[in-house]
Every structure is written in C-alpha cells, then in structure tokens.
C-alpha cells in the first residue's frame, strides 16, 4: 500500500455527458483515461510533472469562457466537460499542423517512423496535409554521444526529456535555450551532448521522447522502439519508498 496519504474524497462530474467519479486531486486527463476516453497529448507523460505546453488536451468546461488543459485541470464536483467538440477537434488539428510545419519531420526517413506519437496523432486527428507553409529551417543533428543521437529536425519541444532527466534521473542534462521559434533543447550549458559531464548515459530521455528527436544510435528508418512505460513504475517506487 502507498505510504503517502491518499485522498479519498470523491467528486462526481460529467465527461461528454457521461457521469463519472473521481478522487479529488485527479486531473481531467487522468479521469478521462481511467474511463477509456481519449484526449490527445504530446507533452504529457505519466510519471512526469505536467507541463501544459502542447495544448492538444484543451477541453471545454461548461460555464468557463476559456478552454482548459486537461493535464493540469483538477476534477471538481459538478464539472460538465466536453472532450471533443468540433471546435476542439479543429484546434487540435491546427496544433498538429503547426508542429509539422515548424521543423523538418520527414516521416518516411525517420527512425521513429511507425512508432511516433506525432505521426500517430496526425492520423487519428485527420491531418491529411499541412495548410501552413513549411518553414524548412536548418537544424543540427548532434551525434557526438557514443550511444545516442539528438536530431533537432524532429524535436517538438515537449520537454519530456528535460523533465525526465531532472525529475527522475536527477541529472538535469537537458534544458532550453533561445526564445520563441528559436527555442532549442540543449545539453548542459549548450555543449555537444558527447561532451556533457552531467549525462549518466541512462537513456531515459530516449524513451521519454515521443518522436524521432532522441534516439539510439544504431537504429535505421522504422527501427527505433521507445519504451516509456517504465516511468510510472519508477515514480511509484520512489513515492512508496519506506
């Protein structure tokens, strides 16, 4: 049993007209997934602190003029929530389009082809083409690490690598540099990854990465298999440590 006290206060709310119950403190995303109701996410990864940045999980709350991110909004008594209105679907599609247009996601030649969360969500959300002009900006590929590779062309800035390294591994190799569209993930103080002194070579970032940005070096097209399922176990183990 969990050593930390678990809230047992129960609230009831509506998700898409379905009555559901939740424990106080649970997020809308957690409740929806518990119910088998899908909400798309990219920056969220179970076991890491929610970041609220991809905006794919925006939902409608009755009575609130603003859309709310399901990953950080806590369930409360009497909430009436819509998970997938036409408006939300339209926004999700546009956000995915924006991500594809931002960097160079050439799925056909990507090591993560076939196992990529971005590629997957595009299909599930009906993105047949991208209406925004592709930016075609030049990005580097950092192959200086002996085991892993960072391809900035594929990065979607979800910061799952930053958080897993900081929160779970405790090394804080990754962080961000630059602003706006120029923002990039950097190792240490903007060093080539291979020269990072803080990297423990644990590989957690590889498996936390939803796309083909952080990968194992030996992989070719379609070959990168990611396993992020270890995270909730690690988190639970840590929380339940006697």
């Amino acid at each position: 049993m969990a050593a930390t006290p678990v809230s047992t206060e129960v609230v009831t709310l509506k998700l898409n007209d379905r009555d559901v119950s939740a424990t106080r403190g649970q997020t809308i995303l957690e409740v929806a997934r518990e119910q088998g109701m899908e909400i798309p996410t990219l920056c969220f990864l179970e076991g890491l602190t929610p970041w609220g940045a991809c905006r794919l999980c925006m939902i409608e709350l009755k009575g609130s003029p603003k859309l709310l991110p399901a990953c950080t909004t806590k369930a409360a008594e009497g909430m009436e929530i819509v998970l997938d209105s036409d408006r939300l679907k339209k926004y999700r599609k546009m956000i995915l389009e924006l991500l594809f247009a931002e960097r160079n996601h050439v799925c056909a030649v990507c090591v993560s082809n076939g196992r990529c969360e971005l590629q997957d969500l595009a299909q599930k959300n009906g993105v047949t083409h991208v209406r925004f002009p592709y930016r075609y900006a030049k990005y580097e590929v950092d192959s200086t690490h002996d085991l892993f590779r960072l391809d900035h062309n594929r990065c979607i800035m979800c910061t799952r690598c930053v958080r897993v390294c900081h929160e779970i591994e405790g090394a804080h190799v990754w962080d961000l540099k630059g602003r706006g569209i120029e923002t990039e993930v950097v190792a240490d103080n903007n060093l080539p990854w291979g020269q990072s002194e803080s990297c423990t070579r644990c590989g957690k970032c590889i498996h936390a990465c939803p796309v083909g940005a952080l990968v194992e070096k030996t992989t070719a097209v379609n070959e990168m298999k990611k396993r992020s399922g270890f995270l909730p176990y690690l988190t639970t183990m840590r929380e339940n440590r006697p």
């Binding site: 940045a53 991809c54 546009m94 924006l98 931002e102 925004f132 002009p133 706006g180 569209i181």
Partner: protein, 542 residues
C-alpha cells in the same frame, strides 16, 4: 524611527523648503536627462552660487514633469507662483536666474494652462516633478509614509484590505483584476511564508509609466509594498525590474537603503512588531517575464517561462508559497488610498473602473509624454486635447492601446470612455497604459506586422500555439504585405489568430493576435486591397 520622528523630519523639510523664495526643479527622469538636464542643473547651481543666491534659491532635481516632447523641462516656484520652462539650454541659465522674482522668461515659458497640464488629475504622479526622488525627507514632507504609519498603528491587516477593496482599485498591470480581492486571497491562503512581489518589468515598446514612477517617486512603490506585506502577512518583498532601466534601478536602490536607514524596512518597522525586507531582482530583458508566473519562475532563478494557472500565485507563487504580485502603479496607488480614504478614491473614475490611470503618449502625437487622467476620460480628449493631436497637419488614423498585444482603435471609436470594459469591447486592452498614435500615412498591415514580429520574438517558446503560431502569423502577414497572398491566406490568418488567442498558455500568446484582429476588424480593406485576388483584381490561378 518612530512615527513622531518621521513627522518631525517631514516638518523640518517643509520649513526648509518654505525658507527658500524660489525653487527651480530640473527634471532628472530619463527623458530630460537624455537631453542634457544634468548639465542644466549643474549650470543653475553654479549660476546661483555666482550670484550669491544660495539662501534664496533652491535648485533641485525632480522627477518626471510629464511633457517629454518639450524637454529638458525646468519647473519654477517663485513666491508661491508656479511656471514651467521648456527646451532649456545651458545658455539660458543666466537669464533664468536673472529673472527670478520678476516676470518669467517669455521665450522659454510653457503655459501651465494648456490642456496637457490643466486636464490631468495626478494621484500616482502627485510627487513626480515635485520632489527630489533621491531624498527621502522630501517624500516625508509630501506626506510620504503617513499611510504606512496609519496602517501599522491604526489598522488591522483586514481593515487595510477592506479599504483597498472598497476603493475599487483594479490591477494596473493590464487585466484589471480587483486588487482588494487579490490581497484578501493571499491573506487567507495558508503558507509558512508569504511574499509580496512588484512587477516592474515594463517591456512594451512605447511604454514608460513604471519607469517614470520609479525614477520620480520610488518611495511611493516601497511604501505601497510594505503596506501590502502588512496586509497579507508577508515579510519579504521583491521588486522585479528590467535591467534596461538603470536610472530607475539606481533610484530604487537608493530609496531602499534610505528606508532601511530610517527603520521603514527591516525588523520592527516604526517600532511595531511588523518586519519586512525588500530586495531587487533584475530581469534580463525577456518580455514574457512581465507575465506573473514567468516572473516568479525568473525570481526563483529558472528560465522565465509561464506555467498554467490555476494554481494562481496567490495560492502557490514564489517557491510554492502564497504570493501577492501587483505592478508599480497598483502599489503606488495604495498610499494615497489609505491617506485620503477609500471613499475619496472610489469617487474618481467610472462605475467599474475607479481612480486614475497613467498613460504614456507616443507615436505621431504632438505632446509625447506621460499623463495621468481619471478613468472614463474620452479617448478623443486624451489624444486631441491633452496630447495636442497629430502633428504636421496629418489626419489621425488609429491609436494602439495596451502595448504590443493591444488593439488598434480607429477614429470612429474615439468618443469611447477609457476604462477596462470599453477597451476590451473595442478589441483592445488597457494593458499597462501605452498609447501609440498613428497618422493617415500608417499602413495598418505594417502596424500588425510590427507588433506580431515583437510577440513572435518575445514568445518564450513553451506552448505550441504561441511559439509557432505567432511565427506563422508573421509569415502570412509578410506574404500579404508583399502582395503575394490570396483570400485563402487571409482566411487562414484569421483561423490562426483564433487558435493562438484561444489556446495559448499565457497572456502573451492569448493577446498576441489583438493587433492583427483589431486592424482586420477596423481596416480590413487595407488587407484585401493587397491580395492577388482581392476586390477589383482578376481571378488568380489558385
């Protein structure tokens, strides 16, 4: 220092001031200083000494006199009569001193009866241009720290909050959240420590309200913050000010040191049990750090990126503790509210927007400068009466209020009252109070492009709609501007604006489309006339 000692010091300062027949106040805020007001002050000092008039004439540095366009400005108070000199040069100094006690120098005189001065009502700026910002005694003499004495000796924290609530004061940083409610929330929130933070990260192009207050009357901000600390139960405060404001930082540092020296900051303030410390944190030039959650993260020492609210800083702010965050103007308004009573304050302004607001007039307007007017003043009066209208015989076209993420308001809306609700209705925002006036020669597509570029490069890069949406908005605006766009591009731009506004994480992204949306709303023809398949153009291949 005890309250009695403070009052004695104030009285002594007043006496000293009355002893002088003539007071020459040289504006030493950044605007006039950049035009050489320091040298004029030195020259005046020398001239007064040369003429042996030191006992009669007090030459002092004062804060912003408002009409920056006419600087360097020198105010004159002679036997109770006030006058103002404009565009003073070193060569004028001898004559200025010579004419003291006689009729003022005609060719330099700037009438105080012009609407720019006559129509203003100064509360936040009451001491600006009057006192020497580097002398705490002058602030005492102007009634400074009286509100703090009243709060600490006569009022319970809850009574302070009650007065702020009843005054109707709303946050001057942009969104207009009721200040009293915010204070009450922080006061109620549970936490082993609490913080008070002043947002002085004024990053809007064309805005200099906060800078001017800090340069002209820094003690007012400090006093407001100490009172806030007392009201909400905080003993530590931070002023987050952008590093690009060296003079404001210098004056604020001086003021903090003085307040500490007088026992107004630190342990057991004014002999009571209340303690409060204040530190300065410098921003490194990121516009997004004006957003409260990003600002707090920056104070904590991390990269300034906003985080989702709730939880609001009032519940979980600095280091997870309840934190009160207000801007410079909001804190500056608190002392006069306590001194004069909330009834006095709530009688000024409109039903929902109380008090006065400071605006920075910039762009194609005659009287560039800083003004303070009651809420509810008509936009037309601000621009044409106080601001003197558009120079060079050009026609007015639009005014951008609320900074880079505000909206453009056209001629037809000029008779609206300036308050939070009306501005929002017109597709703009109050923001921190920048007003940029544009004349008939301005292209509104250019204007939208300019502000979108600003928001694009100042986006923190965290959320997708703001990071990449603003970049795509900018690309589409460039395409339209270059005459290469078609109707479908304009439609896509509109959809994108809706997305960025609705789904962005923080205020920066949520308001970034305002310049585009408001210019599209009021000046759509300027966009469509640039389209390849716009009105009157042959059908394009697309």
């Amino acid at each position: 220092m005890t309250p009695e000692e403070l009052r004695q010091s104030a009285e002594a300062e007043r006496q000293k001031s009355h002893a002088c027949k003539h007071i020459l106040g040289v504006c030493c805020a950044a605007g006039c200083q950049s035009m050489g007001s320091d040298k004029i002050k030195d020259a005046l000092d020398k001239q007064v000494k040369l003429k042996g008039l030191e006992s009669e004439v007090n030459v002092k540095s004062v804060g912003c006199l408002g009409l920056c366009a006419a600087g360097p400005l020198v105010s004159l108070e002679s036997d109770g009569k006030k006058a103002m000199y404009q565009a003073v040069k070193e060569a004028d100094v001898a004559e200025v001193v010579e004419k003291l006690g006689k009729a003022p120098v005609k060719r330099l005189e700037l009438s105080l009866d012009i609407p720019f001065f006559a129509r203003q009502q100064k509360i936040i700026l009451e001491n600006s241009g009057v006192i020497d910002p580097e002398r705490i005694e002058e602030y005492f003499a102007a009634g400074g720290y009286e509100a703090l004495i009243k709060a600490l000796t006569d009022l319970e924290p809850a009574e302070v909050i009650d007065a702020v609530s009843r005054s109707g004061l709303r946050g001057r940083g942009g969104a207009g959240f009721p200040t009293g409610l915010k204070w009450a929330t922080v006061a109620k929130a549970a936490g082993s420590r609490k913080y008070v933070v002043c947002n002085a990260d004024e990053g809007d192009p064309g805005a200099f309200m906060n800078r001017s207050v800090l340069e002209s009357d820094p003690h007012r901000v400090i006093e407001g913050m100490i009172i806030a600390g007392y009201a909400v139960g905080a003993s530590q405060g931070y002023v987050y000010v952008r590093a690009e404001y060296p003079l404001a930082i210098k004056r604020l540092k001086t003021a903090i040191k003085q307040a500490e020296g007088k026992g107004l900051l630190g342990d057991k303030i004014l002999g009571t049990t209340f303690s409060f410390r204040l530190e300065i944190r410098l921003g490194a030039g990121a516009f997004v750090c004006g957003e409260e959650t990003a600002l707090l993260v920056s104070i904590e020492g991390s990269r300034g990126m906003p985080r989702p609210r709730p939880p609001f800083p009032a519940e979980a702010g600095l280091w997870g503790m309840p934190t009160l965050i207000n801007n410079v103007e909001t804190f500056s308004t608190v002392p006069p509210i306590l001194r004069n009573g909330w009834e006095w304050y709530s009688a000024i302004g409109t039903e929902k927007s109380k008090g006065t607001k400071v605006f920075a007039l910039a762009g194609q307007i005659k009287n560039t400068g800083l003004i303070e007017v009651p809420m509810g003043t008509k936009l037309r009066d601000i621009i044409f009466d106080i601001g003197g209208g558009v120079p060079d015989g050009k026609k007015f076209k639009a005014v951008q209020t609320g900074g880079p993420s505000g909206g453009c308001i056209p001629e037809s809306k000029l008779d609206m009252s300036v308050d939070y609700e009306s501005l929002r209705e017109a597709g703009s925002i109050m923001g921190s109070g920048g007003m940029i006036v544009m004349n008939e020669d301005s292209s509104m597509v250019d204007v939208a492009k300019f502000f979108t570029e600003f928001c694009m490069s100042e986006s923190c890069g965290k959320c997708v709609p703001c990071r990449t949406g603003t970049a795509q908005m900018y690309g589409l605006l460039e395409k339209i501007h270059a005459g290469e766009a078609v109707k479908a591009d304009l439609e896509l731009l509109k959809e994108l604006c809706d997305l960025v506004r609705t789904t962005s994480l923080c205020g920066l992204g949520q308001t970034a489309p305002n310049p585009v949306m408001s210019t599209l709303h009021y000046f759509e023809k300027e966009y469509t006339s640039l389209l390849k398949d716009g009105p009157g153009k042959p059908a394009a291949a697309r």
